[in-house]
């Protein structure tokens, strides 16, 4: 066990560096930093912050370029559908998982958008690796990414027509798995 890593994690749990930098830079935003997994006995230092959609691009660019934050890696882009979730006020929570390779720190950025036209700015201009994760979120949740260079479906096929990870989508689908040409012994 390397002492440096453990000490750094403990320090981060008490005073997250990135959150302090964000609050100093963007004083008008309520980031509402919270532990990613609420656990009383074990603080992991995994912090999520909330960012309004109109400030998302500026905040993300700051998080990458600021030397104290230096989140140079976008690990993943994913989404949560808060339909019928107790206490939820917004529908879709687009979640960005950031990693700073220099500081060995992680940060999760959440951005809430709503029906009927959920749209967030693309991160492909900041992290090039956002391309395919954003296509996946678009495919499965129907959240559009404004400015994305190639916003096509990536998991399901063209013409699928639905966004299957939305909560109102039935698990068995809407007939997509039955609607396919049949080969018999005579036709094959």
């Amino acid at each position: 066990m390397r002492n440096g890593v453990v000490a750094d994690t403990a320090q981060q749990a008490d005073q997250p560096v990135a959150v302090g930098r964000l609050q100093a830079k963007f004083g008008d935003i309520d980031f509402a930093p919270a532990e990613l997994m609420s656990s009383d006995d074990k603080r992991r230092g995994q912090i999520s912050v909330r960012v309004p959609v109109e400030k998302l691009e500026a905040v993300m660019r700051f998080l990458r370029d600021d030397r104290e934050c230096a989140f140079d890696m976008l690990v993943d882009v994913t989404c949560i559908d808060y339909l019928d979730y107790p206490g939820a006020t917004d529908r879709f929570g687009v979640t960005y998982s950031l990693l700073s390779l220099a500081h060995n720190r992680r940060l999760w950025v959440k951005c809430f958008v709503n029906d009927p036209d959920p749209e967030v700015p693309t991160m492909t201009g900041i992290w090039k690796g956002a391309d395919w994760p954003e296509r996946e979120v678009y495919d499965l949740f129907g959240v559009r990414f404004a400015g994305h260079p190639d916003l096509r479906r990536i998991m399901t096929w063209e013409g699928f027509g639905s966004h299957p990870l939305r909560k109102e989508y039935p698990l068995e689908g809407r007939g997509e798995r039955e609607n396919y040409p049949v080969f018999t012994r005579r036709s094959a």
């Binding site: 989508y169 698990l171 068995e172 039955e178 396919y180 080969f183 012994r185 094959a188």
Partner: protein
Amino acid sequence: MGVSDARSGATVGTTGEPFVATTRLDRLVQMIRKYGINWARKYSLWPMPFGTACCAIELMATAASRFDVARFGAEAMRFSPRQSDVLICAGRVPIKLMPVLQRIYIQMTEPKWVISMGACASTGGVFNTYAVVQGIDQFIPVDVYVPGCPPRPEQLLEGIMAIQRIVEQEGVTRSVDRLGLKLTV
């Protein structure tokens, strides 16, 4: 058309043309054509492995030394459908994979048989979701279903032996002739 008892003097399965036995030599030829050729054919099945999930692990175990599908003459696994007789679909098939499976089935030359191995290939199994085909027999013809999740190698061997029984009884008929053919043991 197709198979009937050789002693009745009706058609036999090797080529499908009418064959009326008149002499004892004719009857011998008839027996060889029905039983000899089919006997040779059933021990030379070349499988086309279409392994997509954990069933493929059991398929590989079946081909390996402990269970040794070579004892049944089906050890020549060909990854080219042009060289294969038996399509073994081992594992779940998503809808995006269905065109691939159908293309492979079409590319296989006659005569050809299909084994649907495991619960997923046969019924969709536990994957009752929008993405997974609920049984490949909805979209391609299937001759033998091997139950299990995944089936043990012995069960797959029994499935291959079932194909062997089909080969022995049906012979070299075209697939279209096997449609609606009532087998008698």
